[in-house]
């Protein structure tokens, strides 16, 4: 159960970073932290079914649920693509305004 609280805390750290941090690159990093928390949630949840690796040969005991692992591979790929698009957009922002600091950017946008 403690692990779930830790995963929840990690997600909140990411969420706080997305809202509270000024630098927009750091926002992207915070986003990946939140994403990692979600991935851990699935992976840890899968391990509750058993603790042996999900390999058919031999009998090492009850295996973990392999499906969430497969799902999370996809989720990781989605996360990487998201970071890519986010950084590409930030490059355009930096080229246009010369800053990626949120308060400075709002000042630029008011002009």
């Amino acid at each position: 159960m403690t692990a779930y609280y830790l995963i929840g805390a990690l997600f909140l750290v990411g969420l706080y970073g997305v809202i509270g941090v000024r630098n927009m690159i750091r926002k992207v990093i915070a986003l990946t932290i939140a994403n990692a928390a979600v991935i851990l949630l699935f992976v840890y949840g899968a391990s509750e079914a058993g603790d042996a690796p999900p390999i058919l040969e031999g009998d090492a005991g009850i295996p973990v649920d392999p499906l969430p692992h497969a799902l999370m591979l996809t989720a990781i790929v989605v996360g990487v693509a998201t970071v890519g698009v986010a950084l590409a957009l930030l490059m355009r922002v930096y080229k246009a305004f010369g800053t990626i600091d949120e308060p400075d950017l709002w000042k630029e946008l008011q002009k």
């Binding site: 997600f11 969420l15 997305v18 927009m24 926002k27 986003l31 939140a34 994403n35 979600v38 949630l41 699935f42 949840g45 509750e48 499906l67 969430p68 799902l71 996809t74 989720a75 989605v78 693509a81 998201t82 698009v85 986010a86 590409a88 957009l89 930030l90 355009r92 922002v93 080229k95 246009a96 305004f97 950017l105 946008l109």
Partner: protein, 491 residues
């Protein structure tokens, strides 16, 4: 042969077109946009075939790679998904027609990646609508969203900034959806919508499933910009290039609406277990608040696109209200309004694209009768769409509001009836303000000059949309009887 594979064919058509796009760019400068338009029409044809087949023989299912569900991924074509598929593809192919024939989207080298993203986005939308697997839905959701951020961010630095903010919020929404999915999988051990619904029916709503539902609804509400979570929408729609807004605004949020309908009527049917959480009431209240707030915020705007964006917030409110009413008429009104609003918003945003292209600007205080003289046909289409937004018969907007009012009456909530009627007045305030600028106060000398009223390739898409608005209004009974009634669940 193609008949049994129909559910996946639409998705594959778009994905294939996205792959072919670089090759098309090598052939000719304008080949990408014609390929995009052609693919849109092809996908529309396949969607119509799907609709025809569901009307003929009811819902049909397709197992991807012949892996049987619930383990394999399943696609489903039922009246609901076929209707949304046709709506999305109809509007997007009309916008793509406009993009090709009026040179309003970006041209040259950049159009290859632009149209590849458009194809991926539309493929993602079709996938969301087609799939019956909850995780597969997440993948398509992110696929369309990522392509959407790219499309919306290809303008000025300003548009990149608002697209970035949309990306952050959209990704958080997707994370919420995924967390909900994790809880749901932990509870049921399945990801297939029908299978999950069956398991929940026998097991009842345990606390894990309740948490799952709350997270999933939160995530989708962020994606569809339901009121307290709508902050990203006005900036994105205002700053993005006009063509991108015209592509994304009419259908983007509607696909999230589809997910909402699927989740709360198919996966978690109303009255499941003895759960007393007022989910539907909350949706209806958020919707009603969005209607009032969006309409009020639209009134003082000085930028036409921003005004239309706030009106989108209000229109999402109508749809959420209809879904939240949980009565047959409310449901019909919500689904009908999805279709009608897609037509209206596409028409309104294409008009703003015409304004931007002809260097007239989109500031409302710079609209004059001179604007109407330059773009007479487009302006007429804009006015027709505006009248439909206000909800005057016989335009389409009247009928979806009518069903929503009937639904509110059915559920005994007079407040909602008042909200819908009041919002029509507010819509009238902000649209008549523009119509007045376009039509009145012209000097007699200017009025005597002849106008060139012609149907050209530049306004053909607008005219088609305007005519569709009228037709959707006149044939609303047919749409409701034949297309929508088969999908209404039992309440």
């Amino acid at each position: 042969m193609i008949g049994e594979h129909l559910p996946i064919v639409v998705i594959l058509t778009y994905c294939l077109a996205a792959l072919l796009m670089p090759g098309a760019g090598l052939i000719h400068r304008r080949a990408p946009s014609i390929l995009a338009f052609g693919t849109g029409v092809l996908a529309l044809a396949f969607s119509l075939m799907t609709l025809w087949k569901t009307l003929d023989g009811g819902a049909f299912r397709y197992s991807v790679g012949a892996w049987p569900p619930p383990v394999g991924i399943e696609l489903v074509a039922d009246p609901l998904s076929a209707f949304f598929l046709v709506a999305v593809n109809l509007v997007s192919s009309l916008v793509l027609f406009h993009a090709h024939f009026s040179d309003e989207a970006e041209s040259g080298e950049r159009s290859i990646s632009y149209y590849a993203c458009v194809m991926l986005m539309l493929g993602g939308f079709s996938g969301i609508i087609g799939t019956a697997d909850l995780f597969n839905l997440f993948v398509f959701l992110e696929m369309s969203a990522l392509a959407g951020y790219a499309i919306l961010g290809t303008g000025s630095g300003r548009s990149a900034h608002s697209a970035f903010r949309y990306l952050i919020l959209g990704t958080i929404g997707a994370s919420f959806y995924l967390i909900g999915l994790g809880f749901l999988y932990a509870e049921t051990g399945s990801l297939n919508m029908g299978d999950v619904a069956l398991i929940l029916e026998t097991a009842g709503m345990q606390s894990t499933a309740r948490i799952a539902l709350v997270f999933i609804i939160l995530g989708i509400a962020l994606k569809m910009a339901l009121l307290p979570l709508h902050q990203w929408l006005p900036d994105v729609y205002t700053d993005a290039p006009a063509m991108s807004t015209a592509l994304v605004a009419p259908i983007g949020a509607k696909v999230a609406v589809y997910v909402l309908i699927r989740i709360i009527y198919d996966v978690f049917p109303p009255g499941l277990g003895d759960w007393t959480f007022p989910l539907h009431t909350l949706l209806a209240v958020a919707g009603a608040t969005a209607i009032v707030w969006g309409s009020v915020m639209a009134i003082p705007q000085t930028n036409l696109k921003r005004m239309l964006a706030f009106s989108s917030v209000a229109q999402i409110g109508y749809i959420a209200l209809g879904i939240g009413l949980a009565t047959p008429f409310g449901y019909i009104g919500a689904v009908l309004h999805v279709f009608n609003h897609a037509l209206m918003k596409a028409c309104l945003f294409l008009f703003s694209a015409r304004l931007e292209k002809s260097d007239l600007g989109i500031r409302i205080d710079r609209l004059t009768p001179e604007t109407r003289r330059l773009l007479p046909v487009s302006t007429a289409c804009f006015v027709l769409a505006a009248i439909s937004m206000i909800g005057l018969p016989p335009t389409a907007g009247f009928f979806s509001k009518w069903y929503l009012i009937l639904g509110s009456y059915e559920s005994g909530n007079w407040v909602y009836v008042a909200v819908i009627l009041a919002s029509s007045l507010l819509n009238a305030v902000y649209f008549f303000r523009i119509i007045e600028r376009l039509y009145l106060g012209e000097s007699a000398e200017a009025a005597s000059r002849p106008m060139r009223v012609r149907l050209t390739r530049r306004n053909l898409a607008l005219v088609t949309l305007a005519v569709s608005i009228l037709l959707a209004g006149l044939f609303n009974l047919w749409i409701v009887r034949v297309l929508i009634e088969p999908m209404v669940p039992t309440f």
